[in-house]
Point group: C2
Amino acid sequence: MAMSGQANYARPVTAHGTDRPLPLSVDRTSPVPLYFQLAQQLEAAVEQGRLAPGALLGNEIDLAARLGLSRPTVRQAIQTLVDKGLMVRRRGVGTQVVHSQVRRPLELSSLYDDLEAAGQRPATEVLRNTTEPATAEVAAALGVAEGGEVHLVERLRSAHGEPVALLRNHLPPGLVPLRTKELEATGLYRLMRAGGITLHSARQSVGARAATVGEADVLDEEPGAPLLTMERVTYDDTGRVVEFGSHVYRAARYTFEFQLLVRP
Amino acid sequence: MAMSGQANYARPVTAHGTDRPLPLSVDRTSPVPLYFQLAQQLEAAVEQGRLAPGALLGNEIDLAARLGLSRPTVRQAIQTLVDKGLMVRRRGVGTQVVHSQVRRPLELSSLYDDLEAAGQRPATEVLRNTTEPATAEVAAALGVAEGGEVHLVERLRSAHGEPVALLRNHLPPGLVPLRTKELEATGLYRLMRAGGITLHSARQSVGARAATVGEADVLDEEPGAPLLTMERVTYDDTGRVVEFGSHVYRAARYTFEFQLLVRP
DNA sequence: GTCAAGCGTTTGTCCTGACAAACGCCATGC
DNA sequence: GCATGGCGTTTGTCAGGACAAACGCTTGAC
């Protein structure tokens, strides 16, 4: 863009706005795939501002030659960043860093991790950790027979000593052992992963409603106060339902924040 | 899995659970990329149940040979479906269709499209369509000077004759012409796209709060009723902020539904 | 009977090479 | 001055081949 009129002798390519070539290299003895090494370095460069927003990445051919890689490998690296929304490709123009600050593109996150990432030191109080007969709604969500025994975990999550959310989770019986002590020390998803379950996808529904008397009592709100609600059915990679969650959050103390990408 | 002990003479591969080979073909005269043609056919087969959940796709080599394609092309097709969460690959095992029913993975959707897709025939009443000086919050979101003129669109969206949401959108001045008549006939995002803007990403925040007197009046609710709120800053592919929206939804009549994928 | 090693299968990674399509710039013509 | 066509640049698509790594089953040893 700024270098359009120049002759193209042996341009070192892949530069910053300042023409300073970006230090990139790959380690062929490492077990980490080459495209992944490159992707990580590029992502780090974007995050640290060494690749300014709008900066053009040099063309793929030169970049590959400079790194001693083939073009498909370089493309694979860039593609992962494009998928993350960090870069945009334009035919005849090049690949450039996106201007807007992109963060996480909405993962299957747990409240525990969210709070911890925000430096809030979450605390969990397990109100119930037992089995009970499945109601019609729970049975339908988990794909078990109505009235059959299912696992129920009910937790109160707080941050800074104030209650934030009331979490009710139903799980198929015998899926993974859940000890109350562990539930109070970490999040449910971490325990499931540690139990050998590979989470794959989830279907979520986010809404709002007024607090019931019981919820208001536990959450230190007035009855009728607005609450943010989230229902979620989670599947593992074999397609099994592994969890059905019904969560309510204090509207004054929690919002869902996330970044969306437009599918091209 | 079901065919493990068999000798592997000239197995036709890529079958259904019933060993009936799936009809697949590509048209080399079409301008549509080959990998995309294949991806579409596979996705359609999954959706129509011709590829049952859990079914193994034949190995990539044979599949490529059967279609007269190269393996990278077949892989590219499958990869798009894996990215969508429709399939799972396992080394040494194969690629299989995911069990759980996957829908859209949460797009940058507009309320208008959502309602229309649900067959609800949305109606829009434009309450305001004007310019006004930017407040501090709006100025910060849009990246303009505080007090500078910005475009404001305020709309009431209804379905089945009942109000559903109150939508307030601020736009940079002169970005795209917005006629009231067009705003009542379609959604804001469609108009922006039609105006040559390529939407890229958005940062969203979803929460809840009690209705103010004014909101209750417009939405036919009681003051203090729980409302679902959404704030969104939308960027185009050059990184410009193209919209700042503050929406409130009647909690009893609207929830956000979406599907999440776990990043592997 | 149980556990470990071996082996075939399948995906993961990487290479080289080639042509097509879209974009922006420049020169040409009016 | 302005529209238009040509041209170089860059990404998009596709082919064919090669080896490595992970998985599951079978075989063998104890």
